[in-house]
């Protein structure tokens, strides 16, 4: 596929995707060891989605995420040390240990927050887009929703509102086929989530979410449209998750070997590597070098998290307005 991306861009894209994969694979391992508490939803398998989108975003652009938010954070530029420490519940975490995996936010980089409420993000993204529009900037906002979240009332309302107010916001539906143990084939009443765009007066597009280039290109068009003041878009990424819904899920609702097959057949990293080494003059060594860098970075993040202090008990009642 033709691309306007430079080699440097492509290496950046690879680094981001690899960082996400390595981060998630490592959290999976550490969770199994018992080091990580709470509900943790991993993004492995979906890296091309966050990355292809994230490359179009400036720090001043905003991203609203969901419970499966690690990849979105990394693609939006949140530091992995703080993220890992947050997932461990440490004082050095992005939210000082008060948020955890489901609530990582970093407003400085435009990361408006993961969200524990399915469908929480779409209205928030509309608001961020409204702020950009009111201030007369060309800023945009993007929200990532799952196929499950596509059935939440807030999501529909936000799409309608986005068109009514002509907001620079892009709704990216990451359709990984499942909401927890329920298939999107069951829960989404139309053929494709993109079919809903017409009901909200916006363009809708279906993209192979494992294909970084396709994601990057489609989002580029939508972003341009939004920045030009032409309103919102809907993009559906068809993709797959490589772990369970959350850590601890036995995935018995999936056919046996589905994950194994997917990891073989649709891994976005493999596909990207093949493409850039074959067509864009990047050598396997360049990628391996990144692999190594990323591995050390994630190792360091785990060490940072593990050796960081817990929050002080006194932190329990800070950051809220009234004490009783």
């Amino acid at each position: 596929m033709a691309t306007t991306l430079s080699v440097e861009d492509l290496l950046d894209a690879y680094r981001t995707m690899k960082t996400i994969r390595e981060f998630e694979d490592r959290v999976h391992v550490e969770f199994a060891k018992g080091g990580i508490p709470g509900f943790v939803h991993l993004y492995a398998g979906e890296e091309a989605s966050a990355t292809g989108v994230g490359m179009h975003l400036k720090d001043s652009d905003k991203l609203a995420s969901n419970h499966r938010g690690h990849g979105h954070c990394i693609a939006k530029g949140v530091e992995v040390n703080g993220m890992m420490a947050e997932i461990y519940g440490k004082k050095t975490g992005t939210c000082h240990g008060k948020g955890g995996s489901m609530h990582i936010a970093d407003l400085d980089t435009g990361m408006m927050g993961a969200n524990g409420i399915v469908g929480g993000g779409p209205p928030l993204a509309c608001g961020a887009a409204l702020a950009a529009k009111m201030k007369g900037t060309d800023g945009i906002a993007v929200v990532f929703c799952g196929d499950g979240a596509s059935n939440q009332g807030t999501t529909f309302e936000a799409m309608n509102l986005a068109t009514v107010w002509k907001l620079p916001v892009i709704f990216v539906f990451e359709n990984n086929g499942y909401a927890e143990a329920t298939a999107s084939k069951f829960s989404v009443a139309c053929k494709d989530i993109a079919d809903r765009a017409v009901g909200f007066g916006m363009p809708g597009e279906i993209v192979d979410g494992h294909d970084f280039f396709a994601v990057h290109e489609a989002f580029g068009r939508a972003a341009e449209r939004a920045r030009a003041g032409d309103g919102p878009s809907l993009i559906e990424h068809k993709l797959d998750r490589f772990f369970g819904h959350f850590e601890g899920d036995n995935q018995n609702y999936r056919p046996k070997d589905e994950v194994k097959r997917l990891r073989e057949e649709v891994c976005c990293l493999k596909r990207f590597s093949a493409e850039v080494t074959q067509k864009h003059g990047i050598s396997p060594d360049q990628l391996t070098e990144i692999d190594n860098e990323v591995a050390s970075m994630i190792d360091a993040a785990v060490v940072f998290a593990e050796t960081s202090p817990d929050p002080d008990v006194a932190d329990l009642t800070t950051d809220v307005y009234i004490k009783y």
Partner: protein
């Protein structure tokens, strides 16, 4: 300069002055302009009871009509607040909070804490509450106790035109989410209101009448009912101190406790239904922190534990009346162990 204007004019003036002062203040809600997309007048309604009328002419696009999608636009206001705007969002009737409560208590209220102190969410949600309009079960409720229960929200319940202006300006300038509860029956009440801008701080109750024999704590429309009761009781030689909470969160515990320390007796008047209400909240506070001073049981005058009925006969009985307050005060005053 003070003039007599209505409660609803005072709200309009507060928003107007803040929009004039600070560009980041925007207004949104259903028909807050009125007429969007239609071929008649724009700014046709200015809100269902005309409260925001005229602002569109001055501030144009900064005051925005919305579809009937409360979760959508309240959520958008919350998102906009984290991104540098100061939305004043109208939820027409507090009864409708059920369709957008998540955006309020799980999103707006929690960001600051959940994000480790790194987020600010300066949003005001203005909403009408209370019975008296024959508006029945789904348009007459007093749901402010539910907001008061939520850590991270501030809850304001003004009782006079003067207060509503000062408290609303404070709310708009506040960096935390504020639920601003306006009793619809008060809209037409007139009172002295200075023209210039002023604020009334949160968490400072107002002793609207001093007295020695008994403390009456009230909010919203119940302040007026309590003052009427106090006037009647005064003639009978019972001296009531009436405390208007003004904000239920933050709560001015000190003023309540000091008053009860002085009087030794307490009646709490709350238009909300009786369970888990402001009435129980204030009672519990005093039973815990001023028990030694208490000379009598604490009486609560509230609505009954029922939905709000439509028929006037029933609705008038539903709302706590000055008579009921008088009776409660007498009961408490006459009590001896």
């Amino acid at each position: 300069m003070a003039r007599k204007i209505t409660f609803q004019q005072a709200i309009n003036e507060a928003i107007d002055q803040e929009m004039g002062r600070d560009e980041s203040v925007i207004v949104m809600g259903e028909d807050v302009v009125g007429g969007s997309g239609a071929d008649g007048e724009m700014d046709a309604w200015g809100g269902v009871l005309g409260v925001t009328k005229g602002l569109w002419g001055k501030y144009g696009d900064r005051i925005m009509d919305t579809p009937i999608s409360e979760a959508g636009y309240v959520g958008a206001a919350v998102g906009a607040a984290t991104a540098g705007l100061r939305p004043v969002c109208e939820l027409m009737f507090i009864d409708f909070m059920g369709v957008c409560f998540d955006q309020i208590y799980n999103q707006a209220a929690k960001f600051r804490y959940m994000f480790g102190g790194k987020a600010e969410t300066p949003i005001v949600i203005r909403t009408m509450f209370g019975a008296g309009f024959r508006a029945a079960a789904q348009h007459s409720q007093c749901l402010y106790p539910m907001f008061t229960a939520v850590p991270g929200l501030k809850v304001v319940i003004p009782s006079t035109p003067y207060d509503v202006k000062g408290l609303l300006i404070q709310a708009i300038r506040d960096n935390d989410p504020v639920i601003f509860c306006e009793h619809k029956v008060l809209y037409t009440v007139e009172g002295d209101v200075p023209e210039e801008s002023y604020t009334i701080p949160f968490g400072e109750a107002n002793i609207v009448k001093e007295g020695d024999d008994i403390t009456i704590v009230a909010v919203g429309r119940m302040v007026q009912q309590s003052l009427e009761a106090a006037a009647t009781l005064g003639k009978e030689g019972v001296s009531c101190e009436v405390v208007d909470l003004r904000t239920t969160s933050p709560l001015d515990e000190d003023t309540i406790l000091e008053s009860v320390e002085n009087t030794g007796r307490l009646v709490v008047v709350d238009e909300a239904t009786p369970r888990c209400s402001i009435a129980t909240d204030i009672s519990a506070l005093v039973a815990q922190k001023a028990f030694g001073e208490l000379k009598a049981p604490i009486e609560m005058v509230t609505a009954p534990h029922t939905p709000v009925p439509f028929s006037g006969t029933l609705e008038d009985t539903y709302v706590p009346s000055p008579e009921k307050i008088v009776n409660a005060v007498k009961k408490v005053s006459e009590y001896t162990k």
